[in-house]
Amino acid sequence: MPKFTFNLPDIGEGIAEAEIVAWHVKVGDNISEDQPLADMMTDKATVEMESPVSGVVTKVAGEAGDVIAIGAMLVEIEVAGDASTEASDAIKSAAEPTLAAVVEDENPHAPEAVAVAELIPAAVAPAPLQPAIPADTAANKFTASPAVRQRAKDLGVDLTDVKAAGGHIRHADLDAFLTYGTQMGYRPAHANMRREDEAVKVIGMRRRIADNMAASKRHIPHFTYVEEIDVTAIEAMRADLNANRGAKPKLTMLPMLIVAICKTIPQFPMINARFDDEAGVVTRHGAVHLGMATQTDAGLMVPVIRDAQDRNIWQLATEITRLAEAARSGSAKSEELSGSTLTITSLGPLGGIATTPVINRPEVAIIGPNKIVERPMFVGDTIEARKLMNLSISCDHRVVDGWDAANYVQALKKIIETPVLLFAD
């Protein structure tokens, strides 16, 4: 029978290897064409590999966490023919009895127990050894040796909850309670409060994040600058826009911030740049490809809003939603996850009062809005309730000075606090 070797294709620009994140098949599986084989992760994205042929898997390249070179064997498949049908039947018939056995074995004693119970007529059934526990307050009275009482105390067991097999509550009754008592909500007082240690293998996406964060902190001398911005006016404007949005998506603070960033960046080109520190070249980008730090189940991802400067506020809102969903569902394309020139990281209501974001290397700055709070502020001679938001920025001090960062944030502050400027060209 012919064998088909599925070699790992080039799944991204200039990528030499990819990590197996998850297998969808194993050796012996009968697969059909287009059936998913494995999820492969590159620097940019996770890509699902599909089988180009039908057949039986005879070999796989490794296990989850292993890194495979582009062009190397990923899966070997015995290509479908007459033989494969046979193989499929063989697998089926082998599996069926096992399944049946499992089902049968599930509760082997149940029928017997029922039979015995039926055989004993109620009249001759022995009286229960255990006196009936009255439901009233007398149930709170029990007898137990001091040693049993002490042990119950140590275990945090209320002895009124424990059923006695005999006249007194004994250690054996207490032992039994430790099992059935958990259904009554009992948790040991001292034991098992501490969770077992857990070794988590840092693989896949997590390893990628770990490597990137470590590289950023290792190479880049970060500094962080935080300024307070009065967002009362822009919030009011946002409320007006949302009230009249019609079929357009609901606006959050983020697209408004992005518009403000794009408006101010041309005067501060050192902020929107990428630094190739090996070549010693900073490229100040004309376009703003804005990275948007997004929390997913697998960890932090940064989908990129291309040419953010060319999009209006509604287009930005739509794009933000689309990219966040793509990132979370794992369907973001490789090019949607690379090429950013500046990154924004927002935790929304979790934003805290200040953050010190880590730069998405090789970029040179990252902006982190913090949470909006209402505070009393002096406006002239009077105190007013104002909405305030702190804005953090971390910069690569090798190529961005504090002066630049401060001036840039002040420019941002000015445009945000006077939001009509957002639309003045």
Binding site: S145, P146, A147, V148, R149, Q150, H168, H171
Partner: protein
């Protein structure tokens, strides 16, 4: 150091040896009592001692227990180390006032000017077909008196070492000798042949001087499930019953009732979680009551069952029903059943 020369002795011989050693070692030691001199004692404990050490050291007294002990107190106050014998513990009551009011309090009353280094020896306990006047166990009358030490040996080896320590003690000691085991370690199975001491390891007794400190109990046998506190004859009865029924019991021979070695008791009861007290004496206000009280004070939260007492009944010691009164194998087995079920 070479091993001391030992000789196989029964308890009478061991006691005789202790008295002999102390008469020779300390010229202040004197022995007196009914028939202890010329005759050598009704149980032969002082046999040969008058002949060897002279009539001023070992002498007979009139039949007056009050007088014997009273004279002893006077001798002790003036520097001698008297070892009076009361022929049976059942006869000690006339001397009780001298013991309680004089001997026990002399040091206290004289603000330490006078002491009473007297050891009153007396055979006690039943199992000898002695009836009500030759079988009693009055030890708790003395443990109730502060100022008196109460010692009860269970082997020839302990008898000699403890008696020497008692004689050397500077305060009054009542030394009760379990007369049922003078000649062999009685097991309580009264219908079986009696074994001689020679088959028991406690009969290997050094010929010379040695002492066993008062206030130290002896763990006769280690075990895990129940601690038995006992002394005297009952040590051997308990041992036999435990062996007969395969009970994993820890048997503690108290040896000294007062001062009590409560630390040894506490450690054992905390280990086993159960405690049984066995004595021949009547139950109410017996020494077992004190033991039960101290055990619950110190070991309450380790107890799996109530402290069990196996004792004589609250009656005069009967003659015809001796083996019903005596806390023998049948009652002990029943008590072990009960305590292990709880």
């Amino acid at each position: 150091m070479p091993e001391p020369v030992t000789k196989t002795m029964n308890m009478i011989e061991a006691i005789n040896s202790a008295l002999d050693v102390m008469l020779a070692k300390d010229p202040e030691v004197v022995i007196m009592g009914e028939d202890v001199g010329y005759f050598g004692g009704v149980f032969r404990a002082t046999a040969g001692l008058q002949k060897k050490h002279g009539k001023t050291r070992v002498f007979d007294t009139p039949i007056s227990e009050c007088g014997i002990i009273g004279v002893g107190v006077g001798m002790a106050a003036y520097g001698l180390r008297p070892v009076p014998e009361i022929q049976f513990a059942d006869y000690i009551y006339p001397g009780l006032d001298q013991l309680v009011s004089e001997a026990a309090r002399l040091r206290y009353r004289s603000a330490n000017d006078f002491i009473c280094p007297m050891t009153v020896r007396s055979p006690f306990g039943g199992g000898i077909f002695g009836g009500q006047t030759h079988s009693q166990s009055p030890e708790s009358m003395f443990t109730h008196v502060c100022g008196i030490k109460t010692v009860i040996p269970a082997t020839p080896y302990d008898a000699k070492g403890l008696l020497i320590a008692a004689i050397e003690d500077n305060d009054p000691v009542v030394f009760f000798e379990p007369k049922r085991i003078y000649n062999g370690p009685f097991t309580g199975y009264y219908d079986r042949p009696v074994e001689p001491w020679s088959k028991h390891e406690g009969s290997a007794v050094p010929e010379g001087y040695y002492r066993i400190d008062l206030g130290k109990a002896s763990v006769v046998q280690e075990g895990e499930t129940v601690t038995v506190l006992t002394y005297g004859t009952m040590v051997h009865v308990v041992k036999a019953v435990v062996a007969e029924h395969g009970i994993d019991a820890e048997i503690i021979d108290l040896r000294t009732l007062l001062p009590l070695d409560i630390e040894t008791i506490e450690a054992s009861v905390k280990k086993t979680g159960r405690c049984m007290v066995v004595h021949e004496a009547t139950r109410t206000s017996g020494f077992g009551a004190e033991l039960a009280a101290q055990v619950q004070e110190r070991c309450f939260y380790h107890l799996e069952a109530p402290v069990e007492r196996v004792t004589g009944f609250d009656t005069p010691y009967p003659h015809s029903l001796e083996w019903a009164y005596f806390p023998g194998p049948v009652r002990l087995a029943r008590a072990f059943d009960k305590i292990m079920k709880d």
